[in-house]
């Protein structure tokens, strides 16, 4: 008994010691927590974003860091599991005492971590697209860098309805969390435009063949198919079904349908034609075949890590990751400190901060920094070196 | 249903032609198999066998391998249900009732190969026998109502007493998987006794025991008999059977070929022919 009680005291002393130490460390560095899902499902986006984050941190540290302090990046691999994400969020906020948190990548995790980080008062750069993630009153220090799901969907809808002049929409979502919610949002937005989808279905992301659904869509008289799922397998099967049926109608939907790995899953390359998705001005080749110079500059910086070869990931993930750190740098420099309140003040009065991925503006009432004007529609099969051509207008 | 009624040991009860009231008394308390037949998918294992197990009587059941001894025992204890015929206790039809129901009525049994809980102690194995007449329910136990502890203590003492009585006192805290063969057999009988049985069916209890241990087994069985418990003894060890049984039933290929006192059985030519040998 006695022995153990002393042990207990020791242990508590140890913990206190740790706490002090961590406090001491944070004196010379700026700690940024990076909740990433580098493994597990949907890791591809996270891996690409991680490139950008790492690059930005190296740059800034080479250039002398933020406010003379080196950035200490604490990467935590959540494996896409919300429970782990919550644990790590707690760890970063209360054990490691980070000044900023980037992420997490998946909305499912973000929905769980954002309230926690808000309670801890840690400024949080949101890179999940689900709309519920930001709320100026509930999560005053959560600022979204990525576009919202609504922006994606409305961009796609807008293109389908107004540019392609299609009105008989078939919506295909998957039964995963993201799929169900997106399909729902898509229907609501269409309803706003006074359009009711002629056909709408949710399918299992691992369903082996989409011919039935596509046949029904055709039977329903659809003239455009809008898939809302991030599951590459499913997207590829939709395109394969369309190709197999020889049914040449446009497919407009989630950016994942432009992902290079889709190409590999297609029965024939031409099945990728007449396929469009919401994308970004920053990662689209202009009429002159050039990228915006900020993007081009970043591409050149990243190139070496690809051994000079072509970039085989969607480059906007990299750009987004890069920007998240740059936003933090900008906020800290402008505020002259890493005091959370000051950071919030700066960020919510940000007008047109020019990043690579987008030009961000937040206000005291607005936490979604990504402007509609930066959205674009790309043609899927124009993937080249990480970016795309604009869809025909 | 818990109190086992104990009748005085009447000798030579089983003469079918005796006064009606004693017949009723028997009926009331005996465990009877009446014209039982059992087929296993078409193959007959028992046909038209009757057996009446009286309280305070040791009833031997002998016969060559595959003559249906264990089948009959399984029918009495409820693991099988008879194809035809009935199993009665005190005029109560049991043929279709579950094993558990018979445990409640007070039919205990042991197995050819003792079935104990290896990781539990001797005491715990014995206590398990008290299941069917314990009073404390699941919730009462979960919330540790006082009477639960009281009952537990009581069962513990009963088990301890019985174990000492059976001569297992020295092993009381030992896990069952460390027990010798004889110890296992005796422990299984003790578990049966914790059931407050009216009848206990022993499936080859002397199997694998030394002469000395068989002696002890015999004295134990006699003690149980004197306590008014009816004992069915399925055994190959015939002179042991003839030594302690009051009645002996002999089976051969699923049919009863002899029922009588040990002496009648021992010198019955048919029994000698099919089983005992010259």
């Amino acid at each position: 008994m006695k022995f153990c009680s002393t042990k207990l005291i020791n242990s508590s002393a140890l913990f206190i010691g740790l706490a002090i130490m961590s406090g001491a460390v944070s004196a010379q560095t700026v700690k940024i927590g990076w909740l990433s899902s580098l493994t597990g499902p949907l890791s591809s986006a996270a891996v690409a974003e991680n490139q950008g984050v790492q690059l930005a941190v190296e740059e800034i540290n080479k250039a002398g860091g933020i406010l003379g302090k080196q950035i200490q990046l604490l990467t935590r691999d959540t494996g896409g599991d919300p429970t782990k994400a919550v644990n790590f969020a707690q760890q970063l906020a209360f054990k490691d005492r980070v000044e900023f948190v980037i992420g997490p990548v998946n909305s499912g995790e973000g929905l769980a971590t954002t309230p926690i980080l808000a309670r801890a008062g840690v400024p949080n750069i949101i890179i999940g697209s689900v709309d519920e993630l930001t709320d100026a009153t509930k999560y005053p220090r959560a600022f979204r860098a990525i576009n919202t799901n609504v922006q994606w969907i409305s961009t796609a809808n807008n293109y389908a309805l107004n540019t392609l002049k299609k009105s008989k929409v078939a919506i295909i979502g998957d039964t995963s969390g993201y799929g169900t919610s997106s399909a729902k949002t898509a229907e609501e937005l269409l309803a706003k435009a006074g359009i009711k989808p002629v056909y709408s279905v949710l399918v299992d992301p691992n369903k082996t063949d989409l011919t039935d659904e596509m046949t029904k869509a055709r039977a329903a008289g659809a003239d455009v198919v809008m898939p809302w799922t991030a599951a590459t397998g499913l997207l590829a099967r939709i395109l394969n079904a369309r190709g197999g049926m020889g049914w040449n109608i446009p497919v407009v939907g989630h950016p994942a349908i432009m992902a290079p790995q889709i190409k590999k899953l297609l029965n024939q390359p031409q099945y990728w034609e007449n396929t469009y998705a919401a994308g970004y001005v920053s990662t689209s080749y202009g009429a002159d075949g050039k990228l915006p110079e900020r993007t081009q500059a970043l591409v050149d910086k990243v190139r070496p890590s690809y051994g000079g070869a072509e970039i085989d990931v969607m480059f906007w993930w990299v750009a987004l990751g890069y920007d998240t750190v740059k936003i933090i740098e900008y906020a800290a420099k402008t505020a002259g400190s890493t005091d959370p309140a000051a950071i919030q003040k700066v960020l919510e009065n940000t007008n047109k901060f020019e990043g690579v991925y987008a030009t961000y503006s937040w206000s005291p009432t607005k936490r979604n920094g990504f402007p509609d004007s930066n959205m674009a529609v790309n043609t899927a099969n124009t993937f080249k070196d990480g970016s795309f051509k604009f869809a025909p207008r | 249903m818990n109190q086992s009624l104990i009748l005085p040991v009447v000798s030579g009860i089983s003469n079918p032609l005796c006064s009606t009231e004693s017949v009723l008394a028997e009926r009331k308390s005996s465990l009877e198999a009446v014209n039982i037949s059992k087929d296993f998918d078409g193959v007959s294992a028992l046909s038209d066998v009757s057996l009446s197990l009286q309280p305070g009587q040791v009833h031997g059941l002998i016969g060559p391998n595959g003559s249906g001894k264990t089948t009959l025992l399984n029918l009495l204890s409820g693991y099988y249900q008879p194809t035809t015929g009935s199993i009665l206790h005190g005029g109560l039809e049991l043929a279709l009732s579950s094993v558990q129901r018979r445990a409640e009525i007070g039919v205990a049994r042991t197995f050819q190969k003792p079935r104990l809980l290896p990781t539990l102690t001797v005491l715990e194995n014995a206590m398990l026998g008290a299941w069917s007449h314990k009073q404390s329910g699941f919730l009462a136990t979960a919330f540790a109502f006082p009477q639960v502890a009281r009952e537990d203590k009581q069962l513990r003492e009963q088990a301890t007493e019985l174990l000492h009585g059976m001569g297992l006192g020295y092993a009381i805290g030992r896990p069952a998987n460390l027990l010798g063969h004889a110890e296992q057999r005796f422990l299984e009988i003790t578990r049966g006794l914790l059931m407050k049985p009216r009848f206990i069916l022993l499936d080859e209890p002397a199997g694998g025991l030394t002469e000395h241990e068989i002696e002890h087994l015999g004295s134990v069985i006699r003690t149980l008999r004197d306590a008014g418990i009816g004992i069915l003894l399925v055994e190959h060890h015939t002179d042991f059977v003839f030594r302690i049984c009051d009645r002996v039933t002999t089976l051969n290929v699923g049919k009863m070929i002899k029922r009588g006192t040990p002496d009648e059985t021992r010198f019955d030519p048919e029994v000698i022919r099919v089983y005992l040998g010259a």
Binding site: A19, G80, K95 | Y79, L116, L120, E124, E161, H164, I229
Partner: protein, 337 residues
């Protein structure tokens, strides 16, 4: 590990120590993160100690309890969140609902042989997730629901921890009461030798069902606490691997033990947090652990300590012959009646 023999001094000392540790966690936990982990362990344990009766004692291998956890969590989030009930009430209802679903699942499945049962429970977990996703209006579908906090003072990390710890202790106490009495013997008889269990009159199905419903209730309560602790629940929280985790905690802890699975829960919950590489390996690691335990010490790690114990303090095995004390036997039988 033998729960029926009365607590020896060493055991009660350990117990006292354990309690002291639990009560003092908020003091020696360096920060809120450690407190969160402690609370998480308690919440997991609420479920696992109930599940332990099913798996560890009755030997029914349920790999679907994440489904019951999910039901409890959503019930709590919907009642206390959307409908604005008092969290305490919602907690109770979540437990009751968990129990009801346990009953609904147990009725058809508990009669089935082991593998059939395991697969059915697993399928149940999948179905629950499927329905949660489908019933968008009720559960928020893929977006999920916020898990409401308890009223002050239970809304603070310390307060919540004490709530969780109290419930964990309560459930532990309940299951301990079960296993140390004759009921525990009945359960283990079902696990180790159903035939013998029948012979002494244990109604296999009824008892299995009772225990399973009990575990359903604890799972429901755990779910409610989980929702509140996580502060937000989505379907991707309740993955099959979580079931596997509960399962592994019990199996490596040791069948027929309460302490073992508890240690298992603590260690397995902390390990990925402490040892980063394991987080990468993820569930591969659980698989490996499970395999090692099954192959090396199927009785669970608890058994290892027993073996060591017997190694250093061997219990004297003097083989005296059986010599019945017939008078005592006769008396004992009479006294019983």
């Amino acid at each position: 590990m033998n729960n029926l023999s009365f607590l020896s001094d060493r055991k009660s000392l350990a117990l006292a120590l354990g309690l002291l540790m639990m009560v003092t966690v908020p003091w020696w936990a360096g920060n809120q993160y450690q407190l969160h982990m402690a609370a998480l362990i308690c919440v997991y344990w609420i479920l696992i100690s109930g599940l332990n009766l099913v798996i560890g004692y009755t030997g029914q291998l349920s790999i679907g309890h994440v489904g019951l956890l999910s039901i409890g969590a959503y019930a709590f989030a919907i009642l206390a969140g959307k409908m604005g009930w008092h969290p305490a009430l919602a907690l109770v209802v979540a437990g009751a609902l968990g129990g009801a679903c346990g009953l609904a699942l147990g009725l058809p499945s508990l009669r089935l042989p082991g593998f059939y049962f395991a697969m059915t429970t697993m399928a149940f977990a999948l179905i629950v997730n499927e329905l949660v996703l489908a019933e968008v209006d009720l559960t928020g579908g893929g977006i999920g629901l916020p898990g409401p906090a308890f009223p002050a003072p239970l809304d603070s990390p310390v307060g919540f921890y004490y709530l969780a710890a109290t419930l964990a202790l309560l459930v532990t106490w309940l299951s301990w009461n079960i296993v140390r009495r004759i009921w525990g013997l009945g359960l283990m008889a079902i696990r180790d030798n159903p035939v013998a269990a029948q012979a002494v009159g244990v109604p296999l199905f009824r008892v299995k069902l009772m225990v399973f419903v009990f575990s359903g209730i604890t799972a429901g309560v755990a779910g409610a606490m989980f929702a509140s602790l996580q502060s937000y629940i989505t379907p991707d929280t309740f993955i099959f691997e979580l079931s596997l985790f509960f399962f592994v905690c019990i199996v490596i802890g040791g069948r027929g033990s309460i302490v073992g699975p508890f240690i298992g829960t603590v260690v397995l919950t902390m390990m990925p947090e402490l040892v980063a590489p394991l987080a990468k390996l993820g569930h591969f690691f659980y698989g490996l652990l499970l395999l090692l335990v099954v192959l090396v010490v199927p009785e669970g790690l608890g058994r290892v300590f027993e073996l060591l114990h017997e190694r250093f303090w061997p219990r004297p095995v003097h083989n005296d012959a059986i010599t019945p004390d017939l008078k005592r036997l006769a008396r004992a039988i009479k006294d019983q009646a």
